[in-house]
Symmetry: C2
Subunit: 482 residues, 2 copies
């Protein structure tokens, strides 16, 4: 069996690199035959399940409980909040028939679930004692994307978690938004090693029906940013549309304040693949890898096979006792072919065991992230693996953080913006007045850089808008986006 060629270079040819990794690491199959709908193969689902569990745990520790609302939303419900329907109307899939007959009322496949969930909230929430009220659901959602679809990056069906939280007042809601950010940080940055910009979206870009929106944008190797999560303060907009009122301590009835938080599970998988991978394939953080350690036997003709197996079994057992996800590959492929295969799959640690290792009571251990081999005594296996486990995520995160930081520049003028665009700088910060007309001009001058919003912490530093020269409201981030 021939060893296949390695992958194209990731930053210069991201699209091809990505398609090949999705196929060769057996993650996603794009041959389903309906545009924008993909098949999640087992390896992708196993990775997803591992980080989905992390999100669920954090959300539950934060007081959220799981729930499940119907996939279908009656048209009249979807229409209840005027700006909301305006934002989604063009991208909804409609169920219109059942069996051989038309339905009485057409039903939307959920593009997001505010209008499915909030009618029930108006029945459940009666008193200030019911608040805060926090639920999440982990589901697929459906949006008829008219732009070109890309697997996991932009699909018509995608996986996400959505939370829907209700509070007495704005202060409770805004505290929740901070907690949402903390949860996103903990899982996405700390555990998955994916850094992101946390930006307040420009007013004209906020979620349809929200008072304001924050979003999490990560940076892909091709220099474009990808929104992987959003958290919205809905004010009392939906509460008024759906009559979500509570009786306060003073016995008066008040509209509740709401937040919702969308975690883009499919897109986080895409980011994980694209940001950490290299020319040999995937690189997975240890904690979410379906296979954390693979043991490759290196048999030698003159060496007794049972002696090798016995040693390998001992190592494997020890690892399994510590709950590591470990496999031994005894298949007939050559060690080189096996290295190639598990490199592509992003298995974080590979242990090689041959006669030399057995005779010296050692193992050879290979770190996928550094592509470096270490020979260690078998007494040190456990502490070495624990050390590597922690160091792998640190290494991946540091690389990604470095990549993001180096990609951000600050421009004082439109001329400087255009120079940076020519140089291919992915993210350009500029003073900005906040008006859509200036954003449109920026987008057209830069051939596609969009205003992605601003960090509240940098607001003070804003001086004048690089387009109109008027006083700046804030410093906005410009980038091309998926």
């Amino acid at each position: 069996m021939e060893v296949e060629p390695s992958l194209p270079e990731k930053t210069t040819n991201m699209s091809k690199w990505y398609d090949e990794v999705l196929a060769r690491a057996e993650l996603i199959d794009i041959r389903y035959g309906v545009k924008g709908f993909i098949v999640y193969r087992p390896y992708a689902m196993e990775i997803i399940n591992n980080f989905l569990d992390m999100f669920k745990k954090e959300l539950e520790d934060n007081g959220h409980r799981p729930a499940l609302f119907p996939l279908v939303i009656p048209e009249k419900m979807l229409r209840k909040e005027a700006r909301h329907i305006k934002g989604f109307e063009g991208q909804v899939f409609w169920v219109t028939h059942s069996g051989f007959n038309p339905l009485e009322e057409k039903l939307a496949l959920r593009p997001t679930s505010e209008t499915a969930i909030y009618p029930l909230y108006s029945l459940w929430i009666k008193s200030y004692k019911d608040l805060p009220f926090k639920l999440y659901q982990s589901v697929t959602v459906y949006r008829y994307e008219t732009k070109a679809t890309r697997p996991l990056l932009r699909g018509r069906e995608f996986l996400w978690i959505e939370t829907h939280d209700v509070f007495r007042d704005i202060s409770g809601a805004e505290r929740q938004i901070e907690e949402d950010v903390a949860i996103f940080n903990k899982v996405v940055k700390d555990s998955l090693g994916i850094p992101f910009l946390h930006l307040k979206r420009e007013d004209y870009d906020k979620f349809a029906g929200a008072d304001y929106s924050f979003a999490f944008d990560c940076l892909l190797p091709d220099g474009r940013v990808l929104q992987i999560g959003t958290t919205h303060y809905l004010g009392t907009n939906f509460a008024k549309a759906f009559e979500i009122k509570y009786q306060d301590e003073d016995e008066s009835f008040k509209y509740a304040h709401q937040t919702c938080f969308g975690i883009g599970i499919s897109r986080i998988l895409a980011a994980l693949i694209l940001i950490h991978g290299d020319e040999f394939g995937l690189i997975l953080p240890f904690d979410i890898a379906p296979i954390q350690i693979v043991i490759i036997p290196i048999p030698k003709k003159e060496y007794p096979d049972d002696k090798l197996r016995k040693y390998i079994d001992k190592v494997k057992e020890k690892l399994m006792e510590n709950d590591y996800r470990v496999i031994v590959d005894y298949s007939e492929k050559s060690p080189g072919e096996k290295y190639y295969y598990y490199d592509m799959k992003g298995v974080p640690l590979r242990i090689e065991i041959g006669p030399r290792e057995v005779n010296n009571n050692q193992i050879t251990i290979f770190r996928r992230d550094l592509r470096k081999k270490y020979v260690i005594s078998s007494d040190e296996i456990m502490e070495t693996i624990e050390e590597f486990r922690k160091d792998i995520i640190k290494t991946l995160r540091a690389r990604a953080v470095d990549g993001l930081n180096k990609s951000i520049v600050y421009a004082e003028s439109l001329g400087e913006v255009l120079r940076y665009v020519d140089e291919g700088k992915p993210i350009i910060k500029v003073g900005f007045c906040g008006r859509k007309a200036c954003a449109d001009e920026l987008k057209s001058e830069t051939l596609g850089y969009e205003t992605r919003g601003y960090s509240l912490m940098e607001r003070e530093n804003a001086r004048y808008c690089v387009v109109c020269g008027q006083e700046a409201d804030h410093i906005t981030y410009l980038a091309k986006a998926y």
Copy 2:
């Protein structure tokens, strides 16, 4: 606050009992507004997640891996296997529009996923080395039920797990069917305490496209049976329709043999509620209870509150160290109101702690299943709880098994069948020729008893058909069904 009245009697008024428990235990909300679509409230989702995890673990230990295929199935795919489409055509929801425009091809919401999954199998499976090939997905499915819908029992959207397995030959497939039964037994009977009949469905009742089907029927308190799972041998029917071929060791190409296994998650929740519950509400097996132990403080006016709290905290900590899901209810409701509430929720164990318990270094512990109180020394808490944990599921299962066994009678003649029907016997076994005409006559004579199929182990005992008098093929089970 008034204590609400207890529930109606379960066996004589199951329907009302059920509706009240769904609402009062905060399991399901039926007010969504689209017929056959319900809302799973947090308490129901937590219970479901607990037993879903058990199924996933068993399936994965059995070699299945998770995957996710699209919700929508193009019409031409759904039509590929002739009998299959005939079986489902009348109950499919169709997506026909997106945004403001009609779709080029209409898309079915998955009523089951054979026709979504098998086109990919024909791409993935090439060689005998790829077999067996075993996947599962845990999803919602959609069927336009024309009969009256009932929450969890018969809905137009329901939760299930479906496995789709591929083998070289019939013997591999049939072994899998036995393993499916073992998995179902382990989770449903052993862990959830729900006994069932495991029946080979009559030929005219098999799954649309299968060679034969086995099904799992449990018995509800109103005397009707409920199909909570099915496992099918598909032969090479779908392999031929979807070109799932493998190259065998002898280099010839062969059609693969397939099985699929459907686990009715929504219906299993219904069975759990209905079979174990009593006039005080739910009764949950310890291992799947979202709250396994609730501690109720019994304060006394003259007794120092901090002393009580300190003792309670100590007990709670000890329980949490052992990973029990435990809460303390310090709310202002009276102990009686709290008892009532957690009884309704089916919390398996309640610990009451007042001055007497503190002073004697004891706890009072109440078993929901037996409605019995025990006073034990605080040294014995852990071993007592472990003992109760094991005994609760034994007790629930034994009750349910007893109920099922007592409900089955054997009739020698049609006259005897009718006498048993008059007596209200839920399940009647009879000799049966296997022909649909005789089944129809039985159904009409008994006003609704259907032939649910037969146990292979009893086949030998069959003599003559109670309807036509011809030689019996087997002993069939008659019952009214959901």
